[in-house]
């Protein structure tokens, strides 16, 4: 069970590490604030409570930068 993560220069396959693994769990693992990001699942905007499925492409876009 894996998904593709696209975030800045990252483009990699990652394992889905638990049942009901959500985008929020992924953001926590990456130690990035959900407040500064928007997430796309297979090209469509989704909220952070969305569960990641096998084969998904998850793209994270940073929308808030300091300064």
């Amino acid at each position: 069970m894996s998904f593709t993560l696209k975030y800045k220069d990252i483009n990699e396959e990652r394992e889905i590490s638990s049942d009901n693994y959500t985008i929020k769990d992924l953001l926590n693992e990456l130690e990035v604030s959900a407040q500064t990001m928007v997430s796309k699942q297979n090209g469509e905007l989704v909220i952070e409570d969305t569960v990641i499925n096998d084969g998904d492409e998850i793209q994270l876009v940073q929308i808030i930068y300091g300064g």
């Binding site: 407040q35 905007l45 909220i47 929308i63 808030i64 930068y65 300064g67």
Partner: protein
């Protein structure tokens, strides 16, 4: 989970402040309606206005342009735009290119003004000087001067900036905590200067949270420059922003209530605190100034660029 408005299961945002869930179309519509409501409530536009959008190519200014353009399409206003190229290597050019493309897409009058052409020095060059006063001081002053000048040259009656709810709440708290009551009275949706050379400034996005503007541009697939200025450093504004965002996690309506509270006391503050402005002129450039030199000319003199 379904959109609170239309029932569409494809929800793209959960608004913590209201518990509302929205799909893409309803979210885009809600942002545009809210901005239009602010424009009407605060009387930001008059029919026949020519509005100069300060267009950096970032999410806030692109959103401002996009939504104000709906008033242009209804023939209520005309729009032009200016982009200031501060001269920051590996950062500014992308924003300038994006701004040029948006102006072209919408068919609006647009000019790019570089600090190098205007003052003979870039921000990068200023930052190499010893004893500089910090990038944001120069950038803020020069940008403001260039935008005011462009407004006069392009015949604009209003200047629209992309200040959002987070920016405005940070400014309220910063000025209050620093005891800077003079600046505190100058905030608001529409700032008017007594000097007629300064064009009226409007902030149509003042009630939209920064994060929602980010989601709006991604949802509308608007090309914007998402990047951090290399000179952005740990500023007081950054510290204030962190505290407010921390508070907002448990108190999601706190940014709105801070803004509402300020709007209620603003009139009283102005009556009590606003000083009579000196109607002087900068003896070098002729811009309005209460001192011998305006801030921009005084910086240029210090930098030896006069």
């Amino acid at each position: 989970m379904k959109c609170s408005k239309c029932g569409n299961p494809k929800v793209i945002i959960k608004r913590e402040q209201s518990g509302q869930l929205l799909c893409k179309d309803c979210f885009i519509e809600s942002i545009e309606k809210k901005v239009i409501k602010t424009v009407r409530k605060e009387k930001l536009l008059d029919k026949g206005d020519k509005v100069l959008v300060a267009l950096s190519g970032g999410k806030d200014s692109v959103t401002t342009l996009e939504i104000l353009n709906s008033f242009r399409e209804m023939n209520v206003i005309d729009i032009c735009a200016v982009t200031v190229d501060e001269g920051i290597d590996n950062y500014r050019q992308d924003g300038v290119d994006i701004a040029v493309r948006h102006a072209k897409r919408l068919g609006i009058e647009h000019k790019v003004v570089s600090l190098k052409e205007e003052y003979g020095i870039t921000l990068d060059e200023i930052m190499q000087r010893e004893n500089h006063k910090g990038s944001c001081s120069y950038c803020g002053v020069f940008r403001r001067t260039v935008i005011n000048k462009a407004a006069r040259e392009m015949g604009a009656t209003k200047i629209a900036t992309g200040h959002n709810l987070d920016d405005e709440v940070q400014a309220i708290m910063m000025n209050y905590l620093e005891g800077n009551m003079d600046n505190l009275t100058k905030l608001g949706a529409k700032t008017e200067s007594k000097a007629e050379e300064f064009t009226v400034k409007i902030k149509p996005l003042r009630e939209i949270p920064e994060r929602e503007i980010g989601i709006y541009v991604v949802a509308k697939e608007l090309e914007v420059h998402f990047d951090s200025c290399p000179y952005a450093m740990q500023s007081f504004r950054g510290e204030i922003s962190e505290v407010i965002n921390q508070l907002a996690e448990k108190h999601p309506t706190i940014k709105y209530s801070t803004l509402r509270g300020y709007d209620k006391i603003k009139g009283i503050l102005k009556n009590e605190l606003v000083k009579d402005y000196a109607h002087g002129r900068c003896e070098k450039c002729g811009e309005p100034s209460s001192n011998r030199l305006c801030k921009a000319c005084s910086f240029l003199e210090e930098l030896g660029c006069d």
